[in-house]
């Protein structure tokens, strides 16, 4: 078992998986620290709530934000860890960092991926808000099952897209 694991970690795929797991574990560990949570995660989650508020108000919702709670006269939702898109960002960023590519391409991938996931997450929050208004009985399954599954798949597809169209672009030329 240990020999097989060592042999796997010696392959390019194994090295990627090893580095990916390490980077991801460390980044989630850092996020769990209280000062990081208070100074970075909570303000970031509030920013996500404000982004969703802007979109909702385009649809005439008259939404407001108080800390991490997004409210309108028709519905209210609190955005917690796991719903703020940071997990998707970490999955993507760790994949980018672990992949053997030039650092300039990694930095560009991280910036573009971050923006793409932001947009995706705002769509998630806004759609969940409307599910809460029109089909509240579907909220839980939409929130936990549908959107969290889609977030994981989206992060992976985004990473695959980055690798194929950008990270390996230099090697292709």
């Amino acid at each position: 078992m240990v020999t097989a694991l060592k042999a796997f970690l010696a392959t390019p795929a194994g090295r990627f998986v090893g580095i990916y797991a390490l980077v991801l574990s460390l980044s989630f560990l850092v996020l769990a620290l209280r000062p990081v949570n208070d100074q970075i995660v909570n303000p970031y989650t509030t920013l996500v709530a404000h982004e969703a508020r802007l979109v909702l108000n385009l649809f005439g919702e008259r939404a407001t934000v108080s800390k991490q709670v997004l409210s309108s006269p028709r519905f209210s939702v609190a955005i917690f860890n796991g719903c703020n898109g940071l997990e998707a960002i970490l999955i993507f960023v760790s994949g980018v960092v672990a992949f053997p590519a030039p650092w300039r391409r990694k930095v560009a991938g991280i910036v573009l991926g971050f923006l793409a996931i932001q947009v995706f997450n705002v769509v998630r929050v806004v759609s969940l808000f409307y599910v809460g208004i029109f089909r509240p009985q579907w909220f839980s399954v939409s929130h936990i099952f549908v959107w969290q599954s889609l977030v994981i798949v989206f992060s992976v597809v985004l990473w695959l897209g980055w690798v194929r169209t950008y990270a390996l672009a230099g090697a292709r030329r």
Partner: protein, 195 residues
């Protein structure tokens, strides 16, 4: 060097992904009632292994689990926990796996079953740590008397680790670890998988 063939592999993968996602949802929905009971039984067994008296309880209730202790009043400190939060990641993992070219060919079946077993083990541990977190933090004086500060920190960390990082990252790690050849061929770092 990436070859041109992986671009075709990638297109095929992206075309198959929505279908694979739908298939994974159906499989998950069919397996969920039995899996929920098995998951609760496993977590309860693990919680009681080193417990005297064995009183930790994980009781399946629809798609939720009731977490608590049988040596306490029925209305004290029991938590209703949505199990979907723990095992939904079967769906993205299965979808990613089934969207690959020939995921079950050769030893693919065995590798897929091994990956699902790892995922199931992670689910059992996630549920176990939810229970231990509840016992360590939310049962008032009983928690204070039976769990040290160190134990509370350990169970709090383990609960967080299995609740978010493991839940979200394991599907991707298992996907790459189970099908390294296919995934690396897909991104252009290996030979395309033979049809």
């Amino acid at each position: 060097m990436p070859s041109r063939a992986p671009a075709a592999e990638m297109r095929t993968f992206l075309r198959r992904l929505p279908l694979a996602l739908a298939g994974a949802v159906v499989l998950w929905a069919l397996a969920r009632p039995i899996y929920t009971r098995a998951l609760c039984a496993t977590a309860q067994f693990l919680a009681r292994v080193a417990e005297v008296p064995p009183a930790s309880a994980v009781v399946p209730q629809g798609s939720d689990a009731l977490l608590g202790r049988t040596d306490m009043r029925a209305d004290s400190g029991w938590l209703k926990f949505p199990l979907t939060q723990i095992h939904f990641n079967f769906v993205p993992f299965l979808a990613l796996a089934l969207a690959l070219p020939h995921p079950l060919a050769g030893r693919g079946w065995r590798r897929l079953l091994a990956a699902l077993a790892i995922l199931a083990a992670a689910h059992s541990l996630a549920l176990l740590f939810q229970l231990k977190f509840l016992e360590a933090f939310s049962m008032g004086p009983w928690s204070q008397a039976n769990y040290s500060d160190l134990a509370r920190n350990v169970y709090g960390s383990l609960r967080y680790f299995f609740d978010i990082p493991v839940t979200f990252a394991l599907p991707l790690l298992l996907w790459i670890g189970t099908y390294p050849q296919q995934v690396f061929a897909l991104v252009g770092l290996g030979s395309p998988v033979r049809r």
